[in-house]
């Protein structure tokens, strides 16, 4: 019953929206109708324009994310496990945290041009901070008693990492991962708005010049869908990795 209600309210909004468009209350140059959106999405897909744009944007997000995650994991591990590393690296990372991310866009364009690099680096920068902060906090919070157990059981370094450290930091890292992914998409959208010769942002920007609200909304929906997909991946990881917390049925 409640489930049905959850689906019903969004459907009602879409129905009203379509009604307003059909009656001419809603001007297509303000907002295209749902039916028009579906048609546009289909045509853009058939022409190959939309899949190409999605692929370009997804690639930027993936590369930026990978780069940012690599930096965050390397720096976070050093800072979280070594006092010297903490003293040397943490101030730098805290400075990074204070940087106004979107304020860097003009500088990045001057430095890296208008091709792929500035967008990828901007996404990377957005990913680094939340992932780093969460990883460091998680590493500092690892139960020392369990670390001692690893020592008593004479676990090799790799075993201690696999059986003690990784599972211990995973909940914190997953929180960081979700924050990072959310920021990554927002950053990409902003970066692509400013300047892009391909990708979803390019599609949307072009459409704006011709008042094609249907294309703009389709582009936005694609961003949303991509965000949902990555969030779903993290959720699945979470479910798989944190089973021990609420396990009740498997024993």
């Amino acid at each position: 019953m409640l489930r049905a209600l959850r689906v019903a309210s969004p459907l009602a909004v879409v129905a009203l929206w379509q009604l307003a468009s059909s009656l001419g209350v809603l001007d297509p140059s303000t907002l295209a109708s749902p039916a028009q959106l579906a048609r546009t999405a289909w045509e853009l897909t058939r022409s190959g324009e939309l899949p190409h744009a999605v692929a370009v944007s997804a690639r930027r997000a993936a590369l930026g994310f990978a780069l940012g995650a690599a930096v965050a994991i390397a720096a976070g591990t050093v800072v979280g496990l070594s006092r010297v590393g903490d003293a040397v690296l943490d101030p730098l990372m805290q400075m990074l945290r204070m940087l106004p991310l979107f304020g860097l866009v003009p500088l990045f364009i001057i430095w890296f041009g208008i091709q792929e690099e500035p967008k990828i680096y901007l996404v990377a920068l957005a990913v680094v901070v939340p992932l780093y902060l969460n990883l460091v906090a998680a590493l500092r919070g690892v139960d020392r008693d369990l670390v001692e157990v690893a020592r008593v059981l004479r676990l090799r370094r790799a075993e201690a990492v696999r059986h003690v450290y990784l599972p211990a930091v995973l909940p914190g890292v997953l929180v960081g991962l979700r924050q990072a992914l959310g920021l990554a998409w927002i950053t990409l959208i902003v970066a692509e708005q400013v300047n892009a010769g391909a990708g979803l942002g390019f599609l949307v920007n072009n459409a704006r010049d011709f008042l094609l609200t249907d294309v703009i909304v389709v582009g936005l929906l694609c961003y949303a869908a991509l965000g949902l997909v990555t969030d779903g991946v993290v959720r699945a990881l979470e479910w798989r990795a944190l089973r021990w917390r609420d396990g009740g049925e498997t024993a």
């Binding site: 008693d145 369990l146 001692e148 157990v149 690893a150 020592r151 008593v152 059981l153 004479r154 676990l155 090799r156 075993e159 059986h163 003690v164 599972p167 211990a168 089973r243 021990w244 917390r245 396990g247 009740g248 498997t250 024993a251």
Partner: protein, 239 residues
């Protein structure tokens, strides 16, 4: 009866050990040797430094002064079970074990501590006493030469307690590790062990063989005399 004499090799030793936390001196001038196959209990009031001494003998305390020699393969059962919450019971027991039969041996030991069939449970699905038995199994499966037990039976009900005690006693007789066990239960100690060590005021106040013949009975007059004496030393009136 387990025979230990001066020719039996010393597995772990502490000489002139001192341990302070800040200004608070917990142990001062402690000497202790445990030989192969010897089952020693460590008694003392709460806060007297039993767990601290146990950790020192296990080589786990970097802050202790004095000469310490620990076993070549020590195993510790801590006062709290310290299981990895994200590993199933069997994986906790088999953690770090080498060899193809590691899991089979772990299953066997779990069976011995009365946890057959719970191999795939998560630690949080077990009761406190069951978790402690998993910790015991994790130590026993390693066939240590030095077994350190910090109140291993305190969370067990009377019946499980007896079978766990017998299990440890049997293990000592078969594999002959040196065992140091902290307990608050004087009677349990007297029924099980070969030697009693009592810590008081930072020192070893007593270190003696319990020469009572086995199998021991609670109402053995020698044992009753031991009991009265120890309770007196611990400052507890005999009930």
């Amino acid at each position: 009866m387990t025979g230990t004499d001066l020719t039996t090799p010393v597995v772990a030793a502490a000489h002139g050990v001192r341990r302070a936390f800040g200004d608070h001196v917990v142990l001062d001038g402690v000497d202790l040797e445990i030989r192969r196959g010897e089952f020693v209990t460590l008694l003392g009031r709460s806060g007297s430094g039993k767990s601290t001494l146990l950790r020192i003998v296990g080589g786990l305390d970097q802050g202790a002064e004095g000469d310490v020699r620990t076993g070549t393969a020590p195993a510790v059962v801590f006062q709290d079970p310290r299981l990895l919450p994200w590993r199933r019971v069997l994986d906790n027991v088999a953690l770090g074990l080498r060899g193809p039969d590691a899991r089979a041996r772990s299953t066997e030991v779990l069976d011995e501590v009365g946890l057959a069939g719970r191999e795939r449970a998560w630690p949080r699905q077990l009761s406190g006493g069951q978790r402690q038995r998993v910790a015991l199994a994790r130590a026993l499966v390693r066939e240590p030469d030095l077994l350190l037990l910090d109140e291993p039976f305190s969370a067990l009900d009377a019946l499980t307690r007896i079978s766990a005690q017998q299990l440890v006693r049997r293990l000592v007789d078969v594999h002959r590790p040196a065992v140091l066990m902290v307990t608050h239960d004087v009677e349990e100690a007297l029924l099980l062990v070969d030697r009693v060590v009592l810590v008081d005021d930072g020192r070893i106040a007593l270190d003696e063989e319990v020469g009572v013949r086995r199998p021991r009975r609670r109402d053995d007059p020698d044992l009753v005399r031991w009991r009265t004496r120890l309770l007196g030393l611990l400052g507890v009136a005999d009930a």
